[in-house]
Symmetry: C4
């Protein structure tokens, strides 16, 4: 479709962050995202919209067009456009552009442009600071490793909320603001997570007693996800194993300072 | 009572989760529980009850009858029905059925059908994922091990709440919403657990000062259950080294499953 | 004053918890404390006071007289009454008795009888369960060890609250509910500890922006006391050192399984 | 400018905390800071200002003049006044003096005198308690070490708040109190950090459903900063073993300061 040389040039600018032109492009992109988000936010404020609505609208359209061109550029500059379009970043990039056009048909939906904020996470890639990338990876790996435990925990908490919410509905009833079971479950989640809006509060002594139990449970239960993640972080931190790989049997989680493979006895230093 | 062969067949379907028929049965059960809970929830919403009340009622009755048959099936298919009926799961299964009938005498009690949600926890057994079962067991074992510490902690916190609640009652008095000591204790629990509904708030300067102390205490005290559970999780996690000692060089912190000494290469099993 | 034999008898009953009579006495004491606290609580509820006020008053007086006799008994049964009267438990025991009499001169102060709740902590001594005593000690030792860190932390947080509270007072002003600086500091503590009553809330955009920063700070800062206590718990848990003491140089924190003193080289097993 | 001898004398009094005169000076300073902060607080209370405004004003002016003299003294007593003026403490000391004068031109700004509270942190320097200094340093080092991780975390949370806040604005709309996107983001932060003021609350079922997800996320996410700080604290705590290896038996996990191998008794220093 387009000459190979141009594609290569586009790729250097858009997809790479190490070259000067690539870095400049990424910085402009970040600046535009920030401006765009601020424009969307300001537009939602009635008094500002009435006075500067036109300017903000123009700014949004310019940035949307720029993002559209960038998206097309990304599609053209990669070898397999379809693969990019279906990748995580490809979908994010599309979602950051579409809402601007949707607004033509469904007014109000352009607020979804705030989804562009996800693209801000690129900042860590641009900064290319070993610290930040390492920190981000550690967080992700730790959370992924504790996924099963967290899922079991969240599911159990949800079952608890359904039961406690129903009991609170039966105890307090609609006259205290617990109008139905879904609302009661919402209230239980508000209480168990120690958020406590106070839009709905128990009025009867029995309701207050059960609430006290829910609150103390929520206060104690928070220890569980904390414990899960902390123990995972600590496990990730102790670099007790090194990166040696046995030349014979390829076992590769040897202790630091090991001379022989613990699996086959082969000398690791030869 | 019933032929041994039929009982065996029933047992395979109802109690086992490994066979195809058992798995199918469990999945149907889960689906019915979810439908039943949604029906109960929707029925509690006034506008939905007025319009679809009859349908929801029929759905609930069908599921209640199915659960009744299932409970009878479980009783018939085990060797000692009494033992099952008194077991934890037996009681849960009964509680998941009874509220449907209680409603005939005490209208409104059928909301207790939400107790069926407990049965949803079976999902981990059906999924039979090692990860999830292991995660669940780890959580349970850790919580059980820290039971004594958590009980001491909760009891001390309760004593604290009684004393602080009484002091707040004397400082603020009924005119600020602290109508009596039980309500003041409820307020203290709301505050100490950092829930903070705001339905009752201190008004006098002294009351606000004491509240500040309660809040800072609550903010710090949460560290205790977290510390208890986290240290338990970490203790559960680290059986990575075994107790073998090398017969040659006496190095003794080998990895679990090691065959050879990592220091001198000696075979550890000889 | 009183015969030695009677004193010894009294001491066995009142101060010891191992003998049958001592245990019975402690259990009666606990029961009376619980009844007394419930009586005080119920009396504070207006509707109950109007109907059963007289009965509750009589119950409180009987228990107060019993506690007075018990306090005199404790004084008489120990060798140095003054030392007991000035000890922690002696003061608690006095405070659990006095409010009953103060009420004769200052009505309303008898609610302080709720201070008797502190005596409930004796339950752990009576149960004499190794688990609970150990758990309690671990909690106390860990908290005492991290006292310095927690004090530094709380003091820094308080300084932060003073400064942020003053800034919020200047930004929001009395018309938003931040009537003066002490109230603003109270609000800052409410917000930083994530309690969030909602009795006072920021109204101006700048105030809401600063509030957001305070909230995120409070959300992150909670990690500090948790980290302090957790690391202390873990340090308490790893019994990596044994109880051997070197016969030569008395060094006593040897590793588990050590054969020789790491300080002087002496064989520890001889 | 001033004689060297006088400068040395000034330096001893103002900058050192070990000499008796220096310690006395520091204690007077702390007392004045506390009095000054209390005066500022009291002045903000309308009823007190009306009655004692004059006295408080005089107290503030006396302390401001003392602080001015102290600042000049600090400038004169150091070798390079400019370096001190630009240092962290130099700026704090200036900020603790200026607001008193600004008030002459902009009434109301003297409340910034509360910034003097920062100077209270000197108390740890005066106390010179090894425990406290060590505790403070440990906290600072741990927080500095986990800076990168905490930044990544806070940034990710902020991006999340922007997106969720926009979605809540679109779902709930101005009629439920979500007047614009900045306010919705403020609400999301209030909810995610589990503060939950309750000044704005979701009203629609969909809004309450999304809120529930935000709350459960916030309840779980708090585990991340806690895990980061705790693992850092633990890493800081355990330098109990050194890297020595016994020349005879190669045991290598000796305690710090060990002279002899705990396994074979060999002198480790030879």
């Amino acid at each position: 479709m387009i000459p190979e040389k141009l594609r290569h040039r586009l790729h250097t600018i858009i997809h790479e962050a190490d070259t000067p032109s690539g870095k400049a492009f990424d910085l402009i992109l970040l600046a535009l995202i920030v401006i765009s988000i601020i424009a969307v936010m300001l537009e939602s404020v009635v008094s500002i919209r009435l006075e500067y609505g036109n300017i903000l609208s123009v700014v949004e359209w310019i940035i949307t067009i720029f993002f559209t061109l960038e998206y097309i550029g990304r599609l053209l500059s990669v070898r397999s456009p379809l693969k990019y379009a279906c990748s995580f970043y490809g979908i994010i990039d599309l979602l950051a552009t579409l809402p601007g056009y949707i607004d033509l048909f469904f007014p109000g939906w352009h607020f979804l442009l705030a989804l562009r904020a996800i693209r801000l996470l690129r900042i860590f890639r641009i900064l290319k600071l070993v610290h930040f990338v390492g920190a981000g990876n550690l967080l992700i790996v730790s959370l992924r490793k504790s996924r099963a435990k967290i899922l079991v925990f969240v599911f159990t908490v949800l079952v608890l909320c359904i039961i406690l919410g129903t009991i609170m509905y039966m105890v307090e009833g609609p006259e205290s603001g617990f109008t139905n079971i879904p609302v009661s479950i919402y209230w239980t989640i508000v209480t168990l997570t120690t958020v406590g809006f106070g839009d709905i509060t128990p009025v009867t002594p029995l309701g207050q007693f059960i609430s006290s139990i829910i609150m103390i449970m929520g206060y104690g239960i928070i220890a569980v996800p904390t414990g899960i993640v902390t123990s995972e972080f600590i496990a990730r931190k102790s670099p007790d194993t090194n990166t040696q790989s046995c030349p014979d049997c390829s076992t590769n989680d040897h202790k630091d300072g090991a001379n022989f493979c613990y699996h086959c006895g082969k000398n690791l230093h030869k």
